[in-house]
């Protein structure tokens, strides 16, 4: 039975419990009893009342305890003196001899013969002595009463010391009951069932702690951003281009875009070339169109001077990992041009591209490009600026600035800047332009049709938004999955 229960049971039969007396009478550890009293006091209902009191109790010092164990110094010394006596100087060699001898002499137990022939010798004066001090200490230890005067002597000899003991007078409380009702942690189905919730008391809830962690599945932060960009395009009526084709050939990635074969970007240090399968079969490229592309590069035409170099089909056949999704845009525009009647379009793509550049904290060999384009009659830069404002407004960006730029396949070209309030400067957020006539006219796109386009990377705005400095913390296998799991809902229009 627990001590709590013992106290309650006892109180049901007697008016009051003195904790010291109760502990002593029942062989209980007083400290444990006090613990039980406090535990009962902590309950929400008043089962008991406890009045704290204190008394002073004499306790033996260590020296006092040694007297109880071994006898007092004077008694030990007395016991060492035999019938024949003992040389004083021998006697004084014993431990605690000085005090013991002095006390023994005062009590009249010993006598010195200073004139003895061997030297000063000590003899017993009485035949028997009683170790009164030891007896008194034993009594104190067992809480028997001892003469007050004698207590002062013992205190003087530092054999006892007063100790304050706190104790309790325990009585019934206003809600006294021998049955302890523990407070409940939670409301349960059973309690609802039997209505017992009405009688129960409930523990305090810790509103300062966090709730239980919820197990869940998680989407990747970059792809959450991709979903948002996809939504923006779809909301604006842009149709998605099929970009599931990582390997391109030089023809669609470069030549069709009027990027000359001697352009540095076509070098092995910028582009990943494929060794197997190395080349596209020339017969799989549209023959008429290919001739037009060749002739435009070499000699111009369509109002252009061209590049005046020797265009090689082998360069066009080389397979590469696409360096931009603009290769797909070229394919789509070519397809559009083959239709009977030209139909204006708005198209977009978001997919992986590959660059064989130097790698650093913000550059990887593969990343995602976002591209949007509009093909319609009589489009102008004004329309490009207009649609860029509409697009970036959905990203929470309201003010744009444009700077001249250069792309081999667009003219005019514009770099797009917005003001970043956190970084407190204008940052480049994309590239844009109008596709060159040398690209569109050989395809068969009507002369009055202009194609405006813009592009940006998916990774850069994501890194800026989430404060990620190293791109490897965002994509790849070294990403910390905790980051993935704690990444919030993607709200692109909230800065």
């Amino acid at each position: 039975m627990s001590l709590d229960q013992v106290i309650l049971n006892t109180l049901s039969e007697q008016k009051e419990i003195d904790s010291l007396i109760f502990a002593s009478e029942n062989g209980l550890d007083h400290q444990k009893l006090v613990g039980a009293i406090k535990s009962l006091l902590s309950l929400p209902k008043e089962y008991i009342k406890a009045e704290q009191k204190q008394i002073s109790v004499w306790e033996l010092t260590d020296e006092g305890k040694s007297f109880v164990a071994n006898g007092s110094y004077e008694f030990v010394l007395y016991s060492a003196v035999t019938k024949d006596g003992i040389l004083q100087k021998e006697l004084m060699k014993m431990p605690n001899a000085k005090i013991g001898f002095s006390k023994a002499m005062t009590l009249g137990w010993l006598v010195i013969d200073k004139k003895h022939e061997d030297g000063p010798t000590v003899f017993r004066k009485v035949d028997d002595a009683t170790d009164v001090v030891k007896t008194m200490l034993e009594d104190i230890n067992t809480q028997k009463k001892v003469d007050e005067k004698k207590i002062q002597d013992l205190k003087k000899r530092k054999l006892i010391t007063p100790v304050v003991t706190k104790f309790y007078l325990v009585t019934k409380g206003t809600s006294f009951n021998t049955q302890i009702e523990r407070p409940e942690a939670d409301l349960t189905a059973d309690m609802l069932q039997d209505g017992s919730w009405k009688e129960k008391s409930f523990k305090e809830y810790n509103f300062k702690a966090k709730g239980a962690p919820i197990t869940s599945g998680y989407l990747h932060p970059l792809l959450k951003v991709r979903t948002e960009y996809r939504r923006i395009f779809l909301d604006m009526g842009f149709s998605e281009m099929p970009t599931n084709k990582f390997v391109e050939n030089g023809f669609w990635n470069f030549d069709a875009l009027f990027q000359p074969q001697q352009h540095p970007a076509r070098d092995a240090h910028d582009t990943f070339f494929i060794s197997n399968p190395e080349m596209t079969d020339a017969s799989k490229l549209p023959a008429d169109y290919l001739e037009k592309v060749k002739s435009t590069h070499e000699n111009g035409g369509y109002g252009s001077t061209g590049y005046n170099y020797d265009w090689k089909i082998s360069e066009a056949q080389k397979n590469i990992l696409r360096t931009h999704t603009t290769a797909v845009s070229a394919r789509m525009l070519y397809k559009l041009a083959q239709q009977e009647e030209f139909r204006p379009v708005k198209m977009f793509s978001i997919d992986r591209v590959f660059r064989n550049e130097t790698l650093d904290a913000t550059h990887l060999a593969e990343f995602h490009q976002i591209e949007g384009l509009v093909a319609d009659r009589n489009l102008t830069l004004g329309h490009l600026i207009g649609i860029l404002y509409a697009f970036f407004k959905k990203l929470g960006i309201e003010k744009l600035k444009f700077k001249p730029a250069y792309n081999p396949y667009t003219e005019p070209s514009m770099e797009i800047f917005s003001y970043h309030p956190g970084l407190k400067k204008w940052v480049e957020i994309g590239n844009s332009g109008m596709f060159r006539p040398e690209m569109l006219l050989p395809m068969g796109i009507p002369k009055d049709v202009n194609v405006i386009a813009w592009g940006l990377s998916l990774e850069r705005p994501t890194m800026i938004k989430y404060g990620i400095n190293n791109i490897r913390e965002l994509i790849g296998h070294k990403v910390n999955l905790n980051m993935v799991q704690e990444n919030p809902i993607c709200r692109l229009n909230k800065v």
């Binding site: 990747h220 390997v247 990943f272 397979n319 204006p344």
Partner: protein
């Protein structure tokens, strides 16, 4: 008039700034249009230290002896090439190294000006006290050589005592015919004034205003009736088409001054089915308690073959030529390597680890234009104290239910990638579209994963 204020405080001769700029322009031209000197190479010399006529010829390397720029002694071509093999000039040696003779430009006294495209001679090097500069351009493409020379002359002749003076050089070709260099030619093009604003969207400019804007851009223009006559000078080799002129008008007008207008085009968007379905499947997998990863498309040959205990699989992979590291050897044919590397790098995550990815793989395919084909794959991995095979199996069942597919089953396979007796193919109708199972411990070891793993991988395209 040159269009430049005659009182402009230009000091004749090169200053430190203009000297550095002169060098920088040559570097840029070498890199870009010169395609790292392989197409065009430039040499500039202090004319007062050499004497014309100059000869452009070729000699066997051991017969070429001179003190190269920034070296202390005279040496032969082979000797200096040994030195250059160890410094920044190394990439340019291969342009001529295999030839039995190296190109050389010498003056009338035999002084070597340069050994194109590698190095100039120290004798004729340019300093801040140079007053007369000789420029020679050698190339494999005549047109590009002309563009480079025109560009340099156009940019730096303003520092001449009489600004924009260039002394022409007569070149005698091998067949005896001569021509004058540089060309510094201009052409006059005529454009319809009304057409010139079509691309920019500037509606408010008169032909006179257009002419002003173009002249501001160094394309001297004048109004001729309904046309604009535009002089395209030697510094504007970038003008290939009318659109290049239109861009200059827009730049001079100011892009930020062009009024914005939304394209007046009503379209209804259409998504790619494979992408729409992929996004839906991704959401389902996340709902099942799996964490999405996004891993690299490029990996090592071993990652798709030997490390998965299927060495012959490398034959179907698209290979990259000259990869910088082994991480770029092939395009992945399975999503497993990225998945396993992620598991290996995230050892502190609470178990079990449940990952997924929906992404493209690429394989060789002789029927397509490029000889390759992308497939959209779904992959999931479970790693824990136990293998979780029944979990990935359950995941497969769940995904099939969400795809509203009943016509599938799994059947045991002895694919060496899986632990014996714990691998199965996924059959849709009668076709294998994927597999699942507990990975073989040797596979786990290769990817440095210390927990048992079950995986599921299948092709999503049949469901699109």
């Amino acid at each position: 008039s040159s269009g430049i204020n005659a009182e402009w405080p230009l000091r004749p001769g090169l200053t430190e700034d203009s000297y550095n700029s002169f060098i920088l322009l040559q570097d840029k031209l070498h890199q870009n249009i010169g395609r790292e000197r392989s197409l065009v190479s430039i040499g500039t010399h202090d004319l007062d230290t050499i004497q014309g006529p100059f000869k452009y010829h070729a000699l066997p390397p051991p017969e070429i002896k001179f003190q190269p720029l920034n070296q202390d002694t005279v040496m032969t071509a082979p000797q200096m090439f040994d030195i250059f093999r160890k410094n920044y000039l190394k990439p340019y040696l291969q342009i001529i190294e295999s030839s039995p003779v190296y190109p050389l430009i010498t003056d009338v006294n035999g002084t070597v000006l340069s050994l194109p495209p590698v190095i100039n001679g120290n004798h004729s090097k340019i300093s801040l006290s140079t007053r007369n500069i000789f420029i020679e351009v050698t190339a494999k493409d005549r047109k590009k050589a002309g563009i480079v020379l025109d560009t340099i002359c156009g940019a730096f002749s303003e520092y001449c005592t009489t600004p924009h003076t260039i002394e022409a050089v007569e070149i005698v070709q091998a067949d005896g015919s001569t021509f004058s260099s540089p060309k510094m030619g201009s052409r006059i093009e005529e454009y319809d004034s009304a057409e010139l604003c079509l691309k920019s969207g500037i509606k408010t400019a008169t032909p006179e205003q257009l002419a002003d804007l173009l002249t501001k851009m160094c394309l001297r223009a004048s109004v001729a009736g309904e046309k604009l006559k535009v002089e395209i000078g030697p510094t504007r080799h970038d003008i290939l088409h009318q659109c290049d002129v239109e861009e200059d008008i827009a730049i001079a007008y100011g892009y930020n001054n062009i009024p914005q207008v939304l394209p007046d085009l009503y379209t209804i968007a259409v998504e790619q089915d494979v992408n729409k379905l992929s996004d839906s499947v991704r959401e389902e997998l996340a709902r099942c308690g799996f964490t999405e990863v996004l891993t690299f498309s490029l990996c090592s040959r071993d990652d798709v073959s030997v490390n998965l205990r299927i060495p012959e699989a490398v034959g179907g992979a698209v290979q990259i030529s000259n990869p910088k590291t082994f991480e770029f050897q092939v395009v992945r044919t399975t999503l497993l390597p990225g998945m396993l590397k992620t598991a290996s790098c995230n050892r502190n995550m609470p178990l079990p680890l449940k990952l997924f990815e929906v992404s493209d793989i690429v394989v060789k395919d002789t029927l397509t234009e490029t000889g390759t084909k992308n497939y959209r794959y779904v992959c999931a991995l479970f790693a824990g104290k136990t293998s979780g095979f029944e979990v990935v199996h359950g995941l497969l069942d769940r995904v099939m239910l969400m795809l509203d597919v009943k016509d599938y089953h799994i059947q045991q396979t002895s694919d060496p990638m899986f632990f014996p007796g714990r691998g199965a193919d996924i059959i849709l109708g009668t076709k294998k579209i994927g597999h699942l199972g507990i990975l073989h411990p040797e596979v786990l070891e290769k990817f440095d994963v210390t927990l048992p793993c079950s995986v599921l991988e299948f092709n999503l395209d049949p469901f699109v």
